[in-house]
């Protein structure tokens, strides 16, 4: 059966430390746009930790939810791209072809999760960050759309390695940068179509939920709802 890459994020374990955000920047050659541009809403974070406050001081609770491209099976961003820059791969990823993008930004409007980011200018890295590029990931120039790819360069590298060694891919053999970096191990990555994989097992959990499922996009990222700190099933904290 063909692979369907997916992810499970345990919201109970997420501390909101945003190490995943930094790791993603490092792995995927994402530039920081600068204070001025960020204030104008043009920051690029392929994975971001959404933080919502509840309650009034001193009973404030903060809720964290890492949001990244959900690699939807019926992605609304795919049919609207006029040049096929956004399409669905055979392994269940939403592929973004940078050099095919002409920059209509329709896909970003169509995405209900707002996980797509646009290069408003040619990227600039302050020294010495310009020495830190990952050679496996292309640098996007002005006018292109970019988004989380589940670190497709790592997926491809692992697949090529496994094929060269004439063996199947093992579950957990590699992971995207965010999953690798997550200290509380809140994120799990793998093949959803492999029933023995960790991610498929967790996706069947009774805490499993998906974000904005009602839009019909069929996202491949499953979130595990929060429980309470003392283990009691408390719907209020979910």
């Amino acid at each position: 059966m063909a692979r369907q890459w997916g992810m499970v994020i345990d919201l109970d374990r997420c501390t909101g430390c945003e190490a995943c955000v930094v790791a993603c920047h490092a792995e995927n050659n994402i530039d920081t746009v600068g204070e001025d541009q960020a204030a104008r809403g043009r920051a690029k974070h392929w994975i971001r930790v959404e933080r919502y406050y509840e309650g009034e001081y001193p009973d404030i609770k903060a809720k964290f939810m890492p949001v990244l491209c959900q690699q939807c099976a019926a992605a609304p961003c795919e049919p609207v791209c006029p040049t096929f820059a956004s399409y669905h791969t055979a392994e269940g990823l939403n592929g973004q072809i940078y050099n095919r993008c002409i920059g209509t930004r329709y896909c970003a409007n169509a995405c209900p999760y707002t996980v797509r980011f646009f290069n408003w200018f040619n990227p600039v890295w302050d020294e010495p960050l310009n020495l830190q590029f990952n050679p496996d990931v292309s640098i996007r120039s002005v006018g292109m759309m970019e988004k989380c790819t589940f670190c497709v360069q790592r997926i491809k590298a692992a697949e090529i390695q496994a094929e060269a060694e004439k063996r199947p891919l093992k579950d957990g053999e590699f992971a995207p940068a965010c999953v690798q970096t997550c200290a509380p191990k809140a994120m799990v990555f793998g093949d959803l179509n492999d029933p023995t994989s960790e991610v498929a097992r967790l996706a069947r959990s009774n805490r499993a939920t998906k974000l904005l499922e009602e839009t019909g996009a069929r996202p491949q990222v499953t979130y595990l709802k929060r429980g309470s700190w003392n283990g009691a099933e408390n719907a209020e904290n979910a």
Partner: protein
Amino acid sequence: MQKTPEQINEDLLRPLQGTGNVYRVVLAFFVCVVIVAGYAFGHQIDNGIGVAGIRRPVFWGFYITNFVFWIGLSHAGTLISAILRLCNATWRRPVTRCAEVITVFALSIGAAFPVIHLGRPWVAFWLFPYPSERGIWPNIRSPLLWDFFAINTYLMGSVTFLLLPMIPDFALVRDRAVGFRKKIYSALSLGWSGTPKQWHRLETAMHIMAIAVIPVAVSVHSIVSWDFAMAPVPMWHSTIFAPYFVCGAIFSGIAALIIAMALLRKFLHLEEYLLPIHFENLGKLLLVMSLLWVYFVASERLTAWYGNEPAEMTVFWLTQRGSFSPLFWTMVFCNFILPFPILAIKKLRTITGCVIASIGVVIGMWLERFLIIVPSLSRKYLPYSWATSAYRPTWVEITITAGTFAAMVMLYMLFSKFIPIISVWELKAGQHPVAAEEYARFADGQTRLADELERSEAGAE
């Protein structure tokens, strides 16, 4: 009030015969604005589209507003001209070319915006289905590709709808011109001589075009509306968008036509051709479209409000009570509260009244396009990603917007200098006296002439 063909020729060809200094100065001003807008666009290509004000999540702003606005405006001409032609409405004759010119120029301007708003306009030609070396074709599942086909079809249809009836008028100017101008107009008139076969074919072709262009016009703005309706964005994903946009397009188009006609009437001294009755009739159409527009807006907002879906209600209240409410209520004022009494009360439905109402409608419809696009994008599904600082256009967007209005006026002014803005032959054809009267009148003349000839022959013998 019948005019002789010579009088009509003289009146309608007068603008082609000379230019005054006022004309030159005004034209130069608009040309300057267009040049500045061109510079702004060059600046944008050079530095990146980030010089515009658009941002995440409001990825579409002024440029797409302008795109929809100008494509909508273009529905005036061809639609009005075609519908009136098919209904045999005789009052359409002086109005058709003014309207068709608006269509062609507004379409051309509107069609420029999908290129202007691109992040990489230099590869815009990838939208065209051509066999590329990479074997990849454009994605026709995208509403933007439907735009491509629809707008090109409509442009083709409008241009032919404009150019075909211009052929006899080119012939007219050719007959009056001398030297180099005569050569150009001879070429443009394709050697037209006015035989019955040519007239019959031309009128049949116009009739076929009128039938063909109406469904195309309806499809074009439906498809433009589907640029929005096909995306799962709150308050965009609504089935009402296609007829809503078509209605809005015709609405803004008629308003633009009234303004254009009023200006032509004043500056080209066409008071005896563009009569108050024309403005009255167009004013009544504008009234109907205003009511229809209110109907569509009310239907859409009522169903959204009654459905009480959280994401939609956020956008709903944002436009009605929130930060966009000044623009929203200005739009309602301009599109309904101002035009309705002016156009409904016969005493107020003068040329001036119609023009005031139309200016309001043009402003209101531009605001409507803006308010469809920006508030919905500012408040999508995930509140963390809402636009915390509002979308603000930069000088680049404002300049290019101003440049398009200037381009429209500039193109219109140039057109009216080289081609009669009222279709001369159609006007003459509409003034035919009843055949029987003509015969009766002429029979007298004939008998007199025959008597004269006999007398002269008898005298010669």
